[in-house]
Symmetry: C2
Subunit: 520 residues, 2 copies
């Protein structure tokens, strides 16, 4: 097994196939045969979608899809009795991080796609109560159907679970783009089947569950994000009121060093409350002679450039609110951009209730319209076998840090014959670097190269005191191992909590480097 403190990859313990068979049989009996997905009947969706042919690690045993809280409770009871572990996923669309694939072979994927009810939409208070199977697409359609005056924040791809994304600390780009903070009040099935509600939900019959974040005593919500301490079955989710108007577009700079004043300006405007949400910067490196000499199968910089935005640096920003406030924001932004020689600001303005057909596709994200454009464009260039794996360290909010990170990504990817776009999510007092490492997922050697490259990138980022805000399932122990303050003391606390809440160790062992049976 793994040594989490040392950041070693987990070896997969052999799981007795008879236990797995017994669990499958009992689950089929109690939940119905259609709740079970096996090899040859749908299980492929719960592998790492980019694991490549012949993969031997992160292999699910089978998947089970409960349709209710009671069926989740039954699943955990049966798993405990059969001595198998489950690996929870909501939609399992976090493809850059391994999708629904478990850390350990033989894990029963507990997938919550069938629990997809929208239980409440509260336009007056700007919140909804949803189940983990609700996707960004689905809530958007529901809001449209009732013309609810609310606007969503969406990530690059709209097919994922809203709860799943938020529980992974995921980001969108709108005013409430920090999705982890958009959750308000969770319902959680604990490992022993006990159902709890956090925050105001701990009061039976509270109408404040989805509206006030804390209760009396410690708020446990964050404990169930990026962890394996329970199975979230419902959550409140905050939405912003549909603004009177919004303006979105880009700031484009051509000079390499322009990133320094650009980031400084954006940081200032974000802290001052002029810029809202999570601006995103994409960097397009200048062409280098021979840069595509080793490119294979179309994975060339020349092809990548087709999907990058124009300019050396291109920042996407959005302004939201009453028209008078959007105008004030725009005037301040315009003046600030003018201070950066050569920087160009381009903005398009929409009424808040604009029909999606009237929004330019490049503005879908800023408009809170879920879509699949990024994937469509990448697959259009690189073909259906495209795989990606994401490198996403948290960085200081400076242009210098951006240049350093971009140079590192280019160096390490170059060494491994890989390419990928480089981006930055501006998260207020920090940045999250977002690099998609692109590769041919039909070729196991390229999959291995990508994993090795991302692993190396995390080793190098650690030299700056930085590590990932998320990581691919194959690298979670590696990244967790970077939390080295006081001999990895934080993970010792995680281990104590894990063993207290899940003494049998049945819930997602290895998730984010948290393993059962490790308490001192």
């Amino acid at each position: 097994m793994t040594n989490q403190a040392g950041g070693q990859l987990a070896e997969s313990p052999a799981l007795d196939p008879r236990r797995l068979a017994a669990a499958r049989e009992r689950l089929a009996r109690e939940l119905g045969a259609d709740a079970i997905l096996e090899t040859g009947s749908g299980l492929h969706e719960f592998h790492d979608p980019f694991e490549g042919p012949g993969a031997t690690s992160h292999q699910p045993g089978f998947a089970v899809q409960p349709a209710s809280v009671e069926q989740v409770q039954a699943t955990l009871r049966i798993a405990a009795e059969a001595g198998v572990h489950v690996w929870t996923s909501s939609m399992g669309r976090n493809f850059g991080y391994g999708g629904a694939a478990p850390a350990v072979n033989g894990g029963v994927v507990l997938n919550l796609r069938r629990m997809n009810r929208i239980l409440d939409i509260d336009a007056d208070n700007g919140c909804a109560l949803i189940e983990p199977g609700v996707t960004f697409f689905q809530l958007y359609e529901a809001l449209r159907a009732q013309d609810a005056p609310l606007m969503m924040s969406v990530p690059d791809l709209g097919w994922g679970s809203m709860i799943g994304n938020a529980l992974e600390h995921g980001y969108g780009y709108n005013v409430l783009g920090d999705h982890g903070s958009s959750l308000c009040g969770l319902e959680v099935v604990m490992a022993d089947g006990t159902l709890i509600r956090t925050g105001q939900g701990a009061i039976a019959g509270s109408e404040l569950w989805t509206r006030h974040k804390r209760g009396f005593g410690p708020a446990l919500d964050d404990l169930f994000k990026q962890s394996n301490f329970g199975v979230v079955t419902k959550a409140g989710y905050w939405l912003m009121p549909r603004p009177e108007e919004f303006a979105t577009g880009t700031i484009r700079c051509e000079g390499e060093a322009d990133i320094v004043p650009l980031v400084a300006m954006l940081r200032r405007l974000m802290l001052d409350g002029v810029l809202q949400g999570i601006p995103m910067i994409v960097g397009t490196p200048p062409e280098r002679e021979g840069e595509d000499a080793d490119a294979a199968g179309g994975f060339s910089m020349a092809n990548l450039r087709q999907v990058l935005r124009p300019g050396r640096w291109n920042a996407r920003i959005g302004l939201y609110g009453p028209a008078a406030m959007v105008a004030a924001r725009r005037a301040i932004l315009t003046a600030a951009v003018a201070e950066i020689p050569g920087a160009e600001l381009e903005l398009r303005t929409y009424p808040g209730d604009v029909a999606p057909e009237a929004v330019e596709p490049r503005d879908f994200i800023s408009a809170g319209i879920p879509n699949m454009l990024l994937q469509d464009r990448l697959k259009g260039v690189f073909g259906p076998g495209l795989g990606h794996m994401d490198f996403s360290p948290v960085l200081p909010f400076t242009g210098e840090a951006a240049l350093r990170a971009e140079a590192l990504v280019r160096e390490v990817l170059g060494k491994h014959g890989l390419i990928g776009p480089f981006g930055l999510l501006l998260t207020g007092r920090s940045m999250v670097s977002a690099s998609m490492i692109l590769f041919d997922a039909t070729d196991s050697a390229r999959v291995a190269a990508a994993r090795a490259a991302v692993r190396e990138l995390y080793d190098r980022a650690a030299e700056w005191g930085c590590t990932g805000y998320r990581a691919h399932v194959s690298l979670v122990d590696h990244v967790a191992g970077k939390l080295d303050f006081n001999d990895h003391a934080l993970h010792k606390v995680y281990a104590r909590i894990k063993d207290a809440l899940d003494p049998a160790g049945i819930l997602s062992p290895g998730n984010h480097g948290i393993w059962p049976g490790r308490a001192a």
Copy 2:
């Protein structure tokens, strides 16, 4: 002992005085005699300041004031070896909730006032790194001394610990008025002495500790708020950049029913991002014939009216930012207020870098200037023996809920011959009702009446599915008992975590109704 699920008050278990003496002796030896405060030498500050004469519950054994993390670790080690428990407080100025008094008699008050270093002020990123003994006053003076372009959010009284207030989910009123959310990155001594850092601080040498709220894996910060799972010894604290300008003042309404459109308007403007921070509404009930018939010792409505703001309802609001945005906010607010017949808006505008001498005292809170005006005014009217106890349930964000809560407070206080101001903190998608129950703290019978009244108020609020966001130390079990979803399931999880992190039960037993040795 208490039955937490049933909401019973804790009886105080007898603590062997020999253990207490042994602990005191060892602590004096290791930390120095000046680290110990005993009866007759400073311990009175660590009683409930309003407990009244002859109090027998919530009695501290002695207080210890470590000066460093190492001394905190030594204190916990000695406490565990001596078999005594400690009750942690930062400054202990939360007087309306019992100050530094422990839930259980004989608790060693672990007071952190001597750990009062400001370790970093980062104006570029809008954050500071501080110790628990740093007060609002102290940080304000430090910001002034270096002319740091940052603005604080302060609560009504500025003498408290910034970390202590935030750990109690405390509120101020400025843009970052949700103090619990202003913390970013904690350093915590666990019960066994292990030192951890949360978030990015878990990476040795990270410069992002105070700037990015999460790390890799679950964020534990909230676990150490309103709990007894560890002793926080440092924290990052977010501050807002000093705005170019701010405008503050009041909206005044004279009609009882005006609260309904007033609250609806404020909710809309807050959700739309026009109004910032935490507006506060004070209600002044109309005079009633004979309302002061039973008033004793000056605790009359007539006297109370001297310190209330004019108008039946009086909302304090603030607008912050670049001048152009403040102007836009003001125009929208002005138009919205005009929609409420008879409502009057009064605003005063200041440059962001205004000297405190140029700010009207009534605007100190909105200007982020720590002060003691509220206490001074109340004591000026009610005398030095004034005590108060706070009733502060979380409510739905509607005028109807405000009217219901105000009527309840008046009914119950009237029954007990008590008075107090009624306020509402508007927290975004909810409100926190803030009632100070005023009484003569030199009279044990009045102390008992206040406790009985607040207890009854929580019973009645529970009928609405509402409970306190904080509570007096004598009522923590009572309020915790209101968390009744699924047979108090949340507290069963608290108990498991408590026993896992503090198996000997030495840290603040009973804090927020969390007791050691209760895990199933």
